[in-house]
């Protein structure tokens, strides 16, 4: 290169790198740092960072020095300082590539956060070491005093760096990651062997190494050699290791993270457990990471948020989770409906095993169409505010959530006026029944001959089928089952029979009922009451039955019984293929 150019092609002076580029890199890492797992693993991260790199640099330096002494290689003139210098350059593990791969294959949280934290802390201290060795290398004779000065300088620079944003990090290099025996005893969740291997293998080198190598002062003799070998190492680690990381980790089945939304139950219970452990720790007089996390959160809420954030009302993560789940449910329902049908999701709300005595709070959004568009545009961007942004590519958008809540509240008020609850405890159960009024069994209603492949028969509205089936698409998400979009308590609405629909899903898949569709269209802007009526009308024409005139439920209790029996089944109707016919007869 020197023969071709007078000066290096890129004007990457050390100043430019250290002053401008590095802080930005660190800022980017820090901004998207997931706080909770990070602090939980703080010890490990620091251990890797601090002790790991020191050990590493020195180890590599010395061993390289030893190798250099072998005459066969003909590089005997590289002295120890220079070797150490090289070692410090090489120790700089590159975070971006690794994290991208990790993110992509959803490695479990622990591994992810350790690598993340380590990279966060590594960039600058490699630099510190580099400076140190640089300085040392330039001296021809290293005296004892110099060594101590070097160490002192190291500390000064290190602490100074820390003051400027906790720039603190070391890197454990590829060859010395035998962390199992050293770190695992201190960890509550130990890393298994596969995790360790993943950690070790992911020591990719990249930009920082290159920059450091480039900025080596010319006084170092073997500079060119160093640059070349740095480049080789970078290429090796990035391409070969990087490309093979993904299949290797998959192969070894490194534990994956759980990307599904946790249920609200889990959210609440986890929070309670955290409080419990925090309390017990206080009891034992021990400080642990919960203590620090708690302190930090309090401090955060009291000062930092007020200063730095516009709306400083701290949002509980439980509430955020709940909102998010609701939104998701809403969207799923809306997704399954066509644009015409703006009618009540409440009728097709999922099996509600619970007869809930309390007043129903959740109400269908009134202006469904707008909401549908809004939601579908924003659905996957919604994130909780207090929870860390683990994915920097999706940022929160609270507008939608607020809008929906507002709309809900207004429609709630509206509907509360409209509804009347004779028997509120029935509402939950009987919601499920779409096509039959309360108190009537299927058997008596419809001509048995009509449905050849079932004992009992019932109309199956296509719309409900599709919506229900779409809602059951993800059975592992139990939260999607229970939609809090309940109808109001008026008895007619109450008798909609989604339950029947659910049970028939599998058998009557192809059964079309276009009449229902059109009736839905006509009742587009009516609340559930009219929909129900139109539904019953359809049954009238299809089933030829005459029961429609009954508006009031003769005996809601009959229906109340029924859901009880099937409650455990209702959870996964799609899986209960053999449950047909439903046990309706025993009601009558």
């Amino acid at each position: 290169m020197h023969s071709v150019h007078e000066e290096p092609p890129a004007v990457l002076t050390s100043n430019m790198f250290f002053l401008y580029m590095l802080p930005l890199i660190v800022l980017d890492s820090g901004y998207f740092m997931p706080t909770r797992p990070f602090f939980e693993n703080f010890g490990t991260v620091l251990w890797f960072a601090v002790v790991g790199t020191l050990w590493n640099s020195i180890g590599i330096g010395i061993s390289l020095f030893g190798i250099c002494q072998i005459e066969a290689f003909g590089v005997q003139d590289i002295n120890l300082q220079e070797n150490l210098l090289f070692a410090s350059i090489i120790s700089a593990v590159e975070p971006v590539a690794v994290l991208t791969v990790f993110e992509d294959i959803s490695v479990h949280e622990q591994l992810h956060i350790v690598v993340f934290g380590e990279s966060l802390f590594n960039d600058a201290v490699t630099v510190v070491l580099y400076n140190l060795f640089n300085h040392v290398a330039e001296l021809h004779v290293v005296e004892a005093g110099d060594v101590f000065l070097g160490i002192a300088r190291f500390f000064v620079v290190g602490l100074g760096g820390m003051m400027f944003g906790l720039l603190f990090g070391f890197v454990a290099a590829f060859t010395t990651r035998f962390t199992g025996k050293i770190i695992n005893p201190f960890r509550t969740i130990p890393f298994n062997f596969k995790d360790q291997f993943g950690l070790a293998y992911c020591g990719l080198r990249g930009a920082v190494s290159f920059a450091l190598a480039y900025t080596l002062p010319d006084s170092i003799g073997p500079k060119k050699l160093f640059i070349t070998s740095t480049i080789v190492i970078i290429i090796f680690t990035v391409f070969i290791q990087g490309i093979t990381i993904r299949p290797l980790l998959k192969l070894m089945n490194v534990r994956k993270t759980n990307r599904n939304l946790e249920t609200i139950n889990v959210g609440i219970h986890k929070r309670l457990m955290e409080h419990t452990v925090a309390g017990i720790e206080d009891l034992c007089g021990q400080w642990s990471h919960y203590y620090w996390k708690d302190k930090f959160m309090k401090f955060n809420n009291r000062f930092i948020r007020k200063i730095l954030i516009r709306d400083d009302r701290p949002e509980s993560s439980i509430v955020a989770l709940y909102k998010k789940l609701e939104l998701q449910n809403t969207m799923e329902i809306l997704d399954s409906m066509t644009g015409d049908i703006s009618a009540t999701p409440s009728l097709i709300s999922l099996p509600d095993e619970r007869k809930n005595a309390s007043k129903t709070r959740k109400v269908l959004p009134s202006d469904v169409r707008n909401m549908h568009e809004l939601l579908s545009k924003n659905m996957y961007k919604i994130r909780q505010r207090t929870v860390s942004y683990t994915n920097k590519h999706s940022l929160p958008n609270d507008v939608t959530a607020k809008e929906i809540l507002i709309r809900r509240h207004t429609s709630l008020r509206r509907s509360l006026r409209a509804g009347s609850f004779h028997r509120p405890h029935v509402s939950k159960a009987s919601q499920k029944f779409l096509s039959l009024p309360v108190g009537q069994s299927l058997n008596s209603r419809l001509p048995p001959g009509r449905f050849s492949h079932a004992g009992d028969g019932c109309i199956e509205p296509e719309i409900h089928l599709s919506s229900v089936s779409s809602m059951f698409r993800h059975p592992q998400r139990s939260s999607s089952r229970t939609i809090p979009l309940r109808p109001l308590g008026s008895p007619e609405e109450v008798s909609s029979s989604v339950k029947v629909v659910d049970e028939e899903n599998e058998k009557h898949r192809g059964f079309r009922s276009s009449h229902l569709r059109s009736s839905f269209t006509s009742s587009a802007h009516q609340p559930s009451r009219s929909l129900y009526r139109s539904t019953r009308n359809i049954i009238n024409e299809d089933g030829g039955s005459e029961h429609e005139e009954q508006e009031s439920p003769p005996d809601p209790h009959a229906w109340v019984q029924d859901p009880q029996n099937n409650n455990s089944d209702m959870q996964f109707p799609l899986l209960r293929r053999s449950q047909w016919p439903p046990q309706k007869p025993q009601d009558e």
Partner: protein
Amino acid sequence: MRCFDVTRRSVPASLMKLYKSVILNKQIHQPPMLIEHKHTHAVNILQLFTISTAHIIRLHDRFKELDTERRGYLCPQDFGAIKGLAINPIGDRIIGAFFSPGRETVDFYTFVKILAHFRPADNIRPKESSSPEPINSRTNKLKFVFQMYDLDKDGKISRIDLLKALRGMLEMQVTEEQLDSIVDRTIQEADLDGDDAISFEEFRKSLEKVNIDHKMSIRFLR
């Protein structure tokens, strides 16, 4: 983890001395639980000894520290003096867990026993059905959490229980309406038999995917 089987080996003298001192410090009217039932003695001590000696000594130091009046037992006021617990939203429930129904005081044995719930679980456990489940097993940890919720001790988490717990945890951040909604949804999700409350089995099922051992363990008790 050192486990001393009383039936087989002799207990280290220092530890026996410790226990003797603890026992002797108690009030006379309170029978020391350690030697209460001879037939369960071995089992109890075994359980107790799944915490290593060093930890027990440390816990005893803490016990003495909390026992400001040097009575050999703790009463609710002693617990209340712990600042962290006082501001913990479920602090009073945690304290309540130490006092078995009808008792007004906590002796050292109970103290350690409750805290033993929070040991990280051992991975190697011989799968004999004859030995009682260790106190830090997943089930027992879950039972402890269940206890935190179920204040009226009817074996179920009712809406009221959940409401109270949530209100405590969420403090000022939610409206009553939101709270009700959340409670509704929670019960909806978990309740399988439709009784409007969460039984222990339903509770356990709802948490089947969660690593309880990780969340409910204190590191220093390993």
